[in-house]
């Protein structure tokens, strides 16, 4: 089984978010970039398929040279090789189109991608990629097994889970559950050494067009100070929630 794991290069979850250039650009100054947390779950699942079922695992990112350390980290976790499509990931549609070209040329059976990325939170790349490649598609996947070309998976639904069956080739939008938090892999020294020698191929983009563009960013309006209520005066809390906030 040939697996492709899509890796988004995103600000660490603790990052302060600021903008530059008249609020037209995200300010990368001082920001730590990491593998998108949702993609980390997918990558760990892919490692499991590699170890238990002899799969090969390629990781891919659509982005500039600055994303290579993130791809190297994925290699250090255990992916066999990496691909970077050398273009600015201007929007989800563009990224999906570039990925679709990689998928078609690479003959992958299974594509794993986080259902969401922690920067623009678009939640669209996996579904668009599945449609563009005409692969089957499971979103919000919280468990999956592959036997031959048959797949059994669980996806989260409102208030529960749905068990579904399908076949490869398949795109999966994954999240926590596809592996557990405690099973996430952290690169070790040996992995980091080996990653330096693993192939990282840079592909030129197909030149797909974006369908959206960001004209500016805004930050939320700062919040007023909290109103503290004495622990011995909970009637006041109820009064405030009822009469002032009107939420009970």
């Amino acid at each position: 089984m040939k697996i492709l794991v899509c890796i988004s290069h995103v600000p660490d979850t603790t990052s302060k978010i600021n903008f530059t250039n008249n609020d037209a650009e995200f300010d990368k100054n001082g920001v730590q970039f990491v593998i998108n947390p949702y993609d980390e779950f997918c990558l760990t699942r892919a490692m499991w398929f590699k170890e238990k079922q002899g799969a090969t695992v390629t990781v891919v990112n659509v982005g500039g040279t600055e994303t290579e350390p993130t791809l190297r980290k994925a290699l250090a976790i255990g992916a066999d090789d990496a691909i970077r499509v050398n273009t600015n990931p201007a929007d989800g549609f563009l990224v999906a189109k570039e990925l679709a070209a990689v998928v078609k040329n690479g003959g992958y059976d299974l594509v794993l991608a986080g259902k969401e990325s922690a920067d623009y939170n678009g939640q669209m790349v996996p579904g668009m990629l599945a449609s563009l490649t005409d692969f089957n598609f499971i979103n919000g996947c919280v468990a999956m097994e592959v036997e031959g070309t048959s797949v059994t998976a669980k996806r989260e639904i409102d208030g529960g889970n749905q068990t579904v069956t399908t076949n490869l080739p398949l795109v999966v939008g994954g999240q926590k559950g596809i592996v557990e938090e405690k099973d996430l892999r952290i690169p070790n020294m040996r992995g980091i050494m080996m990653a330096r020698k693993k192939p990282l191929q840079v592909l030129e983009p197909t030149g797909a067009a974006a369908s959206t563009s960001i004209s500016s960013f805004e930050k939320p309006v700062p919040k007023g100070a909290v109103k503290l209520v004495d622990a011995d005066n909970l009637d006041e809390l109820i009064n405030l929630l009822h009469n002032e906030a009107k939420v009970i």
Partner: protein, 318 residues
Amino acid sequence: MSVLVFADSTEGKFKKTAFEVVSYGKKVAEQLESNLVVLTINATDASELHKYGATKILTVANDSLSPFNAKQYAAVLTQVANKENATVVVVDSSIDSLYLAPIVAVNLEAGYASNTVALPTSTSPFTVKRKAFSNKAFSNTVITTDKKIIGLAKNSFGIHENPAEGTTENFDAEIATSGIKSESIERVTGKVTIADADTVVSAGRGLKGPENWPMIEELAEVLNAATACSKPVSDLGWRPHSEHVGQTGKPVASNLYIAIGISGAIQHLAGINASKVKVVINTDPEAPFFKAADYGVVGDAFEVIPQLIEKLKAFKAA
């Protein structure tokens, strides 16, 4: 030209977000001087949607579309969008809508703005405000394609009654092959879900252990609320993963969010910030959550919560 709204339903019933997208679609249609068309699939009573401004309602009733299947639903939306010459398609942010919208975007070659929080600020260029960076910012996004899809963030626009007269017609959809077969569905019944709740009662590591959750559940019951928890609580197995909220868990956009024994880490706040009113109950006056909350009680949950339950019961009974 038209604005097409997809009103999602589960087991025949609309969620509140369906009424919200209809309310929103009505206004977008006015802005664009277009017709509003509302599509429902296997809904029991589509006429409810007239209350929120739906004029033309198209219903698809077909057993092969039950349960939900993203590709098949997307194919129906695509057929309707083409037939009705829709330039804008509006969907909500339910799990099912998030699954189908990217497929519709490819089918229609439409730019898709998920997480939209308000009416378009301009129709030319077509610009919408969206949440970005896990609720830490907004982007003003221009959709540059002829056809556009807006994914409306939950509880961002609100439900607005706007009764309208209109028609309800059956749409004869062609059913696409799906590729995905549903084997079984497990759903907790009789409990409010985080996605649908007006109020969410959430508790963290300050609760010390899973044996202390009955009071959280009781508080939730009194408030007709969903229960939620912080990430470590689900990682420790005190509560199911489905209750984990925050940046890497479920998003919360309720009217009222009550955080008990949760410190207010940045990743937790990112996921719940879209809630309108936040109440924090914590022993530590320095807990970061107090900076993000509207109301706070510095106190021990084990003393505050039982009292709050009694007082709320009395309040509800009055």
